[in-house]
């Protein structure tokens, strides 16, 4: 783990949606330790600022981050071209506990950009989970991340996609992602669920999983707060007793569910 930004060079910049870009990076000198699925880096756009972004692909000597242009720093990152350099600190935080998913049924539930942090987990789980289902909710068909890759996953596991706002051409599901839970058969008591998306979506998904018999201890949520230092010192990312940059971002629902219901945390 590095606490000072290490220069990484942009190998490729791939537009994913109208406002999302995947940046594939390689070290431009010193190399950071390998990222585990679910961990994040503080990504520094030189002269602009630093934002936390979860790893989207863990490659051989490369690392990919999928960035949505929502603010000054992320917009600057999205504009980076191949050959340009940014700074990385990390890897930070806890990743997905994939050992808990070994040999069990696994539900991966993603909302919007939440598919990006789950993507490397799916890469590891394909062929490893007893049964794997990937459920994705997104705003419109144009906002769906990695559609080509989802098509490939469909050959190896169950993949369901639903949108909030269909276009006239859309022939798939319409509605919230939790509605897809009824469509997959899982051994509820032994299933593991990995969930990432807007916090309200995760809260409702956790409740829907619980209602279907999945124990909270087998539901992992990737939480987000205002990560700054990444090392558990500054306290910006505090959620009750947790410092999410250190104790998260992936937190067992048995620990986090109650905290998510507390206002002002």
């Amino acid at each position: 783990m590095s606490t000072v930004p290490v220069p990484y060079r942009v190998l490729s910049s791939r537009p994913e949606t109208p406002d999302c870009v995947s940046l594939t990076l390689a070290a431009d000198g010193a190399t950071l330790p390998a990222f585990a699925p679910g961990q994040f880096a503080m990504v520094y756009a030189f002269g602009v600022g630093e934002v936390p972004i979860s790893v989207s692909v863990v490659g051989d000597g490369t690392v990919t981050f999928t960035v949505r242009a929502v603010g000054a720093v992320s917009a600057a990152l999205c504009k980076l071209a191949p050959g340009e350099t940014l700074g990385l600190r990390g890897p930070f935080g806890s990743g997905w506990n994939l050992d808990a998913a070994d040999g069990s049924d696994v539900l991966v539930v993603a909302g919007g950009l939440g598919l990006a942090p789950l993507r490397p987990a799916v890469h590891r789980l394909l062929g490893r989970a007893a049964r794997l289902a990937v459920l994705v909710g997104t705003r419109t068909p144009a906002d769906l991340l990695f559609p080509g890759e989802l098509a490939g996953w469909r050959e190896q596991c169950r993949v369901e996609v639903t949108v909030d706002r269909p276009t006239p051409q859309w022939r798939g599901s319409v509605g919230v992602v939790t509605a897809l839970l009824d469509r997959v058969a899982v051994g509820a008591e032994t299933a593991t669920a990995l969930v990432c998306g807007p916090e309200v979506m995760m809260r409702h998904t956790a409740d829907a999983l619980h209602a279907r018999g999945v124990p909270p201890g087998r539901v992992q949520l990737s939480l987000e707060r205002n990560m700054r230092c990444g090392t558990g010192h500054c306290g910006h990312c505090q959620l009750g007793p947790l410092l999410l940059c250190r104790d998260g971002p992936v937190v067992d629902c048995a620990v986090s569910r109650q905290l998510l219901s507390v206002r002002e945390l």
């Binding site: 406002d19 949505r68 929502v70 049924d105 909302g111 919007g112 950009l113 049964r131 794997l132 289902a133 909710g137 997104t138 705003r139 906002d143 169950r158 639903t162 909030d164 269909p166 006239p168 859309w170 022939r171 798939g172 599901s173 319409v174 509605g175 919230v176 939790t178 509605a179 897809l180 009824d182 469509r183 997959v184 058969a185 899982v186 998306g197 807007p198 309200v200 979506m201 409702h204």
Partner: protein, 153 residues
């Protein structure tokens, strides 16, 4: 995850009640793009989907009916049959081939009246479905996946 498709409504009934309900059902297969019912029409049937997907749409003059939600395998299609005046609130069209149990509404309502315990279980399940869809509609109103996360901080 393609083993037995969960059927929350049937799974929530006792074995005798399940048998009574299924005793009223017809096995139906529908082709893709088939209109099952129209908004305002008589809600005299409902379905439990075994496979496939059905789009629920809304009549908007001068426009192709916008799809507001889809219902898939394991889910209940139609609850307007349970409440007077028994008119569909939305229209429905199959998105692909669909297999389903089809239930005659008047016979199921008669069974509910004749067997209050069965009627309570069925009504509670339908109420849960309605509550879930109301909650889903509310969540979608918030537009959670919007760039601003559904609104200003």
């Amino acid at each position: 995850m393609t083993e037995r498709q969960p059927q929350p409504l049937l799974d929530g009934l006792s074995a005798p009640h399940r048998a009574r309900l299924l005793g009223l059902a017809d096995d139906r297969e529908f082709p893709a793009d088939m209109r099952l019912f129209d908004e305002g029409g008589s809600a005299n049937r409902f379905w439990l989907l075994r496979s496939g997907e059905v789009a629920l749409d809304l009549h908007v003059p001068g426009r192709r009916p916008p799809v507001v939600e889809t219902v898939g395998a394991g889910q209940l299609l139609g609850w307007s049959w349970l409440f007077p005046p028994y008119h569909w609130h939305l229209g429905a069209r199959t998105l692909g081939p669909v297999s389903a149990w089809e239930f005659p509404a008047h016979r199921v309502r008669a069974l509910c009246e004749a067997e209050p315990e069965f009627g309570l279980r069925l009504a509670l399940h339908c109420a849960a479905v309605i509550a879930e869809r109301l909650q889903a509609a509310r969540l979608r109103l918030v537009d959670l996946y919007a760039p601003d996360g559904g609104g200003p901080p």
